[in-house]
């Protein structure tokens, strides 16, 4: 398939892996631990696991730390509760991206709300939600807007379009978040050991490369903005390690086919026309982070579900046993968390990182429990027995 297969060439992958291993070995030896590189974006986490990149790299020299960049994972329970409360209004058609439907709040998920009779519809784009609003003029259509800068312009442009057309029954429940303050919060953590970053490619397509400069300058960490195909990630990892080996700390762009230095001016203009920074926003697993979320500006109040409808707006604390914050900072691996695979599984996620397929714990649970090299169950895979039981039961029912 064009535009995909060229980025999945096994020979090129082998060459990159060899070069990464050669560069990383002495650096890891000098530190007496593997180099820790954080992939900020959940899409990168997905690529690493889906293509089995982790198993290709020397585990004693390279360790991926899976960052906070999965917008579905970091949704706090209280915001999901607000969604579920909205869906109880029979006049509301609640529209959402598919993978947000499984995120549990304290009152259940949107999937459960749908099963209980709420009109919850999966859409692929905010424009689909606007179309539903046009087709149902006597009902209120709320779009569950979430995601980082990647999805923000699409939502902003949809609101502008709704205003132009005068579609008054369309509104957003805005949960957009922004990545830079969160990376800063992680970098400010006193226990931090990260050696470098793979920067989020699609966020950068919108915001450009310059917002990361402080990471290289102030925190002295290399960052390479990376694409999402397996060769993109391997090349970016090689670029990060090359910087470390050469003692450089720079912001580099591997994803030049998509990301421009200054981002996308039109997208940024639409975003700033519709949204403004919140004082703070609550993140599942990380707590409250200043200026890390946006809300709709006052002149768009008519399109703002938070202003239009009464919502509980209650904060719900993360379960105490969750160690998502420590996983996000690279202090522990997912399977070292006390509840991984026991109290917290993809079927019944407790913590942020188990929620979506892009979350680190979910990825470990799904792809990482078993040693793919064929040496039996991986250490700490508490959930393996339970999952095998479930497999057996499903087999009998088929």
């Amino acid at each position: 398939m064009q535009y995909a297969d060229e980025f999945r060439d096994p020979a090129k992958a082998r060459a990159l892996v060899t070069e990464i291993a050669r560069l990383a070995a002495p650096l890891a030896a000098a530190r007496s631990r593997p180099l820790q590189v954080m992939e900020v974006c959940g899409g990168h986490t997905h690529t690493i696991f889906r293509y089995g990149l982790k198993a290709m790299l020397p585990e004693d020299a390279i360790e991926f730390v899976h960052g906070p960049g999965c917008p579905v994972c970091v949704l706090p329970m209280g915001r999901v509760d607000d969604c579920v409360a909205l869906t109880r209004d029979p006049n509301i058609i609640f529209t959402t991206f598919g993978d947000a439907m499984r995120v549990p709040g304290s009152q259940g998920s949107l999937l459960q709300a749908k099963a209980n009779g709420a009109d919850v519809r999966m859409v692929y784009s905010p424009l689909d939600a606007l179309q539903i609003a046009r087709a149902n003029p006597h009902r209120e259509v709320v779009f569950f807007a979430l995601g980082f800068e990647t999805t923000m312009p699409g939502t902003a442009l949809t609101v502008l379009q709704a205003r132009r057309e005068g579609v008054a029954n369309f509104s957003l429940f805005c949960n957009h978040i922004t990545i830079i303050p969160t990376m800063q919060a992680i970098l400010d953590s006193p226990e931090l050991r990260l050696d470098g970053f793979l920067g989020p490619g699609h966020v950068s397509m919108v915001i450009g490369n310059r917002p990361y400069d402080f990471i290289a300058r102030h925190y002295r960490k290399p960052l390479v903005v990376s694409g999402f195909e397996p060769l993109d990630l391997l090349q970016s990892l090689w670029m990060v390690i090359k910087q470390i080996a050469e003692g450089r700390c720079e912001v580099e762009n591997q994803y030049t086919r998509i990301v421009q230095e200054d981002g996308n001016a039109e997208a940024l203009a639409a975003v700033s026309e519709v949204f403004e920074l919140r004082e703070f926003f609550e993140w599942r697993g990380l707590g409250s982070i200043d200026h890390s979320g946006v809300r709709m500006r006052a002149e768009f109040a008519g399109f703002d579900a938070e202003r239009k409808f009464a919502m509980p707006g209650v904060q719900v604390a993360d379960p105490k046993s969750c160690q998502c914050g420590e996983v996000l900072k690279g202090l522990i691996k997912p399977q070292q968390c006390k509840v991984f695979g026991s109290a917290c599984t993809p079927e019944k996620p407790l913590g942020a990182l188990m929620v979506s397929s892009e979350g680190a714990c979910s990825a470990y649970y799904q792809y990482g429990r078993i040693d793919v090299r064929g040496r039996g169950p991986a250490a700490g895979a508490a959930g393996a027995a339970g999952a095998a039981g479930a497999v057996g039961a499903a087999g009998a029912a088929a």
Binding site: P10, G52, D128, R375, P377, V391, A398
Partner: protein, 364 residues
């Protein structure tokens, strides 16, 4: 006794045409059609009987009566299965709910090595369904049954109020005969066995997703719904001792292989580069963030055969219309026991687990 002792074919000699006046083109199902009275009798006689067209059903007794001697001549065990079909939309590129209801149940019988013979058909109709739609579905069922060599010998029709069903639900149960000495079971995979599929994966799943028209994507993908008995006969001719076989329906290839790996306590390794995929299905999966290993199929069989017979089985399959794209996609090994590993095209390895819930398109 020969196969002729049990005639599962339709009686083509006496086509049973509609009795009484035909329905007007816009006629719809009402509660009366499920009431057991004249309206129901009329519906069965005008729509169902002509479509299914066989003498066993035409007696309109409350049960089909099947000769034991005839059955016994075809095997030493009865295979018996049931499945319900609720697909939306009821008609989609490559098939419809009726063809699906026949093929799905026929395939559930065929994958254990049984010869499918008789089906029942339970219909749950939503008030307001157009009789023309029902008629098309019934004719499709009749056609699929003839193609698969089975007879629909008994049935039931219920009507529910508007909103209590989604137009039309179908349940079929099926019986077949399993010849002596065939022992195909999920727990018989052994290290050294080969994993074989008969063609492109995920066509049905993507065809249905696109037919729902919710994603503003279009592609010429047809459901693969097809009866597999005759293909399986040709596979068994090439290798009498097939170890495991299932049709990869909901949950896709990944689910079937996990069932084999757990039941047999073996590891299964699949090569991503060997998986047969239609380029349009691959493209849709890339765009939507779906994994073709988990997509539904309705005409795909997964077989585990001794490695030495693998090439012969694939060759036999490729000479059959339902097996043209057959391929060896992986092997059975000892470790990691109970797990399925995918060797990715780029050269990595990852676990292919059972799916948690449904696959949902990713946000970005």
């Amino acid at each position: 006794m020969t196969d002729a002792a049990i005639d599962t074919r339709s009686s083509a000699a006496q086509p049973m045409g509609p009795r009484g006046a035909a329905y007007p083109p816009s006629a719809t199902i009402t509660m009366a059609h499920g009431g057991g009275g004249r309206a129901m009798r009329g519906l069965i006689e005008k729509v169902i009987l002509p479509a299914f067209n066989n003498p066993l059903l035409a007696t309109l007794e409350d049960q089909a009566r099947i000769s034991m001697a005839g059955l016994a001549s075809l095997g030493d065990r009865l295979a018996f299965t049931t499945d319900s079909y609720v697909v939306t939309p009821i008609e989609f590129p490559g098939g419809d709910i009726g063809k699906l209801a026949v093929c799905g149940t026929v395939n559930d019988l065929a994958v254990c090595g049984a010869r499918p013979l008789f089906l029942s058909c339970g219909l749950v109709l939503e008030e307001g369904l157009e009789i023309a739609d029902l008629s098309r579905i019934a004719e499709s069922m009749g056609r699929a049954a003839r193609e698969a060599g089975v007879t629909i010998v008994t049935g039931d029709t219920k009507v529910v109020e508007r909103g209590a069903a989604d137009r039309l639900f179908v349940n079929t149960a099926g019986i077949g005969m399993l010849p002596a000495a065939i022992d195909i079971q999920a727990n018989r995979a052994r290290p050294g066995d080969a994993i074989i599929v008969n063609g492109n994966l995920g066509d049905h799943g993507i065809a249905i997703l696109l037919a729902r028209n919710e994603l503003a994507l279009s592609a010429a993908v047809q459901s693969d719904v097809a009866p597999l008995y005759s293909l399986i006969v040709s596979m068994r001719a090439a290798c009498p001792d097939i170890h495991c076989m299932r049709d990869a329906t909901r949950g896709g290839l990944a689910t079937v292989l996990n069932e084999f790996a757990v039941s047999s306590n073996v590891g299964i390794r699949v090569r991503e580069a060997a998986l047969p995929l239609d380029p349009a299905v691959r493209g849709a999966c890339e765009i939507l963030g779906l994994d073709p290993l988990y997509l539904a199929n309705e005409g795909k069989v997964v077989a585990v055969v001794p490695g030495i017979h693998a090439d012969a089985v694939v060759a036999a399959m490729r000479s059959h219309p339902e097996g043209r794209a057959a391929a060896i996609v992986g092997e059975v090994c000892t470790q990691p026991a109970g797990s399925v590993i995918l060797s990715t095209a780029i050269g990595g390895d990852r676990v292919v687990d059972m799916l948690v819930g449904e696959q949902l398109p990713r946000i970005c």
